[in-house]
């Protein structure tokens, strides 16, 4: 019994930290509709700033509390600056662009923290009062964890009072429901948004600083925290603070007991629970269906390619085919990666643009394809053509199985479920060491002799990837493509004329999954290896950045975006150690300069001319 109690208490302490981060995220989303990817980065900065502050203060409880409060205030100020300097300029842009901008901030903060605090984990020294224990049912339990347990409900109560007993809180709740109407009633939304962002950032900073005694300030906090916080926010229901608290309890307890019951699969367990909740309650525990959660934004009609455009594509392809005649091995390897990137981006664009389903976990299909190719080639001795056939097949089948859950949802919830699934795949790749090799990956998967050499590998990748992308484009102008866009733009009307919208969306999901799987399979033979990184959040983000940079609602977008991004990435990687900083800044600037994507901007120019 004592053992159960202590684990339950540990879970509650974890739930408090989760809640601090998730409550800020959910409030920010509720009012500004911004999915703030940088929220984990704010928590990470809270940890670093907290470390800097606390290591300079006397080590007694009062100074500790003051230092933590000061850190929260500093992060609140930073959040306000972030909102005023960047996000405010993007409220009229599509929501995915705001997301992209916050992802740029994630990259910038990563390198800024690395440059400021260095690569090592930073811990604070723990004076006796921080190491104190109490005896609970014959087990030792840290006093500090008891404090954390109390902080969760205390913050919940404060937030409840703030939102229900002050005018500011009522304005925030009203704006969560209908922010345009709040503006028409004479409320300056900018003030509201800035203060909400400051509150959320302050809570994130609080969580970061409070995590120091039991953990450390390190560069991995941002992505691990943001993933957990997304899970909590989605399970609780977007915009619901009480829901976020319930979900924090659920996840906190799940993690505490999961470590005991199935230590290897805690990550999977968390995401399975999330998927289950979303299937049963598509709007989360306390979320409501009324508020809009669309992500794709309004679409402009697409026209079939003109003769001129087809000619342009043909010339581009000819140039690509001729590249081995002039390019050296290094340039060819970059071009090979670009070809893979084009298919990866085109497949995401397929579900996201015409399909209207913004996937945050597209790397899952890429990774499944890559592992299918790698495992079959290495473990079963399947020759390369067979392995390359298995890759899209495996990814396509997985996409059908999983897509059946996904296509029931829409908007942010759909995006989060895809992210969750990608994390399950990632966790499997990472933790199932006996099959996947875990972090070490699978090595030595090279093409057979006839297909070795950079030029042949390049041409092979080009053929398969450009071919795959061309097929995807062709499908979009087929009757199926029109039905897909009809399902996106007006599901009710599409159903009324006899289209089975779920089945159409599922088919699109499967086609895109298979295409991404093919890209993954090709990549495996290009690199000669498979790693869990293929399925990671940053890799999913790569695809998102490529599609969004190119422009979601243009057919040329993913190609342009993939080429631009691969070029930028490679150039930066060679030019500077702080490539994340530059890349993040470039993303932010591009989003500010082209709120509709590069190809979208070009298209608009052309139409005007």
């Amino acid at each position: 019994m004592g053992f159960l109690l202590v684990h339950a208490l540990t879970g509650l302490a974890g739930a408090s930290s989760l809640f601090l981060v998730a409550s800020g995220l959910t409030v920010i989303f509720g009012v500004t509709r911004i999915v703030n990817f940088a929220h984990g980065s704010l928590t990470m900065l809270g940890a670093y700033v907290g470390w800097t502050v606390l290591t300079r203060l006397p080590r007694d409880p009062a100074w500790f509390a003051l230092g933590v409060a000061g850190t929260a205030a500093a992060l609140a100020a930073l959040g306000a600056l972030l909102e005023m300097g960047l996000l405010r300029r993007l409220y009229r842009s599509p929501e995915l662009f705001q997301l992209l901008a916050t992802f740029g901030v994630v990259l910038i903060v990563q390198d800024a923290a690395l440059a400021t605090w260095g690569p090592d984990d930073l811990t604070i020294s723990r004076p006796p009062w921080l190491r104190a224990y109490v005896r609970i049912a014959d087990e030792r339990f840290p006093v500090y964890d008891l404090v954390l347990i109390a902080i969760g409900p205390a913050v919940l109560a404060c937030l409840w009072l703030l939102f229900n007993r002050t005018r500011w809180g009522r304005l925030v709740r009203a704006a969560t429901w209908d922010r345009e109407m709040v503006g028409a009633l004479g409320v300056d939304q900018r003030v509201l948004f800035t203060s909400v962002f400051a509150l959320g950032a302050g809570l994130a900073g609080l969580a970061g600083a409070l995590g120091l005694p039991a953990g450390s300030a390190n560069l991995g906090i941002d992505l691990s925290v943001i993933t957990e916080a997304f899970v909590v926010v989605v399970i609780g229901g977007l915009g619901s603070i009480t829901g976020a608290y319930l979900a924090s309890l659920l996840i906190g307890l799940l993690q505490a007991f999961g470590v005991v019951l199935i230590p290897k699969a805690t990550l999977v367990l968390v995401f399975v629970v999330m998927a289950a909740v979303l299937v049963l309650r598509p709007n989360g525990l306390l979320g409501r269906g009324g508020a809009p959660t669309a992500l794709a934004g309004t679409a402009t009609p697409v026209r079939p390619p003109t003769r001129g455009m087809l000619l342009g594509w043909g010339l581009l392809l000819l140039a690509a085919l001729a590249a081995p005649l002039v390019a050296g091995p290094y340039a060819l390897s970059i071009l090979t990666e670009a070809a893979v990137a084009v298919l990866f981006a085109a497949s995401l664009h397929f579900v996201m643009g015409p399909g209207g389903m913004a996937s945050f976990g597209h790397a899952a299909w890429f990774g499944i394809g890559a592992y299918a190719a790698g495992l079959s080639a290495q473990g079963l001795g399947v020759p390369m053509p067979g392995a390359l056939l298995l890759a899209p097949l495996a990814a396509g089948v997985a996409a059908v199985l999983f897509g059946a859950f996904v296509v029931r949802l829409s908007g942010v919830y759909l995006a989060m479920l895809t992210l969750a699934f990608a994390q399950i795949v990632w966790a499997a790749a990472f933790q199932w060491v006996s099959v996947t090799g875990g972090d070490n990956g699978i090595l030595g998967i090279w093409p057979p002799a006839w297909a070795s050499g950079p030029a042949v590998v390049y041409l092979l990748a080009l053929t398969l990837c450009a071919g795959g992308a061309a097929v995807l484009q062709r499908v979009l102008y087929s009757p199926f493509g029109y039905a897909l866009r009809a399902s996106r733009d007006s599901p009710l009307r599409a159903e009324a004329i006899g289209l089975d919208t779920r089945r159409i969306r599922l088919a699109a999901f499967a086609v895109a999954g298979a295409a991404a799987g093919l890209a993954g399979g090709v990549f495996t033979f290009v690199k000669g290896s498979v790693f869990p990184g293929f399925v990671s959040i940053p890799h999913s983000m790569d695809a998102l950045v490529m599609v969004l940079l190119g422009g979601v609602q243009t057919m040329a977008g993913p190609v342009v975006g993939a080429l631009a991004y691969t070029g930028l990435y490679d150039g930066l990687l060679r030019a500077t150690a702080y490539w994340r900083l530059v890349l993040g800044a470039a993303i932010v600037l591009l989003v500010l300069a082209f709120p509709e994507g590069i190809a979208g901007a070009v298209q608009r120019r052309l139409r005007r001319a």
């Binding site: 005018r167 009522r170 304005l171 709740r173 009203a174 429901w177 209908d178 345009e180 109407m181 709040v182 503006g183 028409a184 009633l185 004479g186 409320v187 300056d188 939304q189 009324g290 309004t298």
Partner: protein, 233 residues
Amino acid sequence: MLAVEGLNSFYGQAHILHGVGFAVGSGEVAVLLGRNGAGKSTTMKSLIGLVRPASGSVRFGNREVARMEPFRRAQLGLGYVPEERRIFAELTVMENLDVGRQPARDGLRPWTPERLFTLFPNLGAMRRRPGGRMSGGEQQMLTIARTLMGNPRFLLLDEPSEGLSPLIVEQMAAAIHALRQEGLSILLAEQNLHFAAEVATQAVILESGRVAWTGSMAALRADAGTHGRYLAV
């Protein structure tokens, strides 16, 4: 008090308003009439700024407001009551009213919830009820009351009689008369000619995004031809 000139508004690529112009004097109650899709709601939204006019001028008092953010127009004393009511469903009646609250204005008696409950007695009986659990008529009263909490000088009322029972429509008409007595100027958008005739002094008829006719309500009632051409379904 409100003078509109050459207003052009778009929804995306669709050109909705083509050079709309009219004026409403201080203390007047004017009505925008016209069939479905004539541009009444778009005109209303352009006046408060929820639709940004591509060109044209909107003078309110002696200020040009056509390029202002909606919240600035509201702070100047332009009150907007949307057709869809747009009640904050999770907030109670009192909380909805509080969101609309703005400082008092010179020369007008400031609105308080208590004063509004004498204007709309039904609301007073349900102060703690969430907006989402009210009937359509109650929501219509609440949306007007909420805008009045901003102490507007000029009220934009988009289809206040739409979808209401005859009894509630009568209450609405009485409320509009009372507001006029308070010194408010009002622009209504209406399809219900009978209701419009009961409350308005001036009429502006829109047809396909253009002003087709303006004049006094009395002249419109006397002119069966105009009525038939622009308003009959």
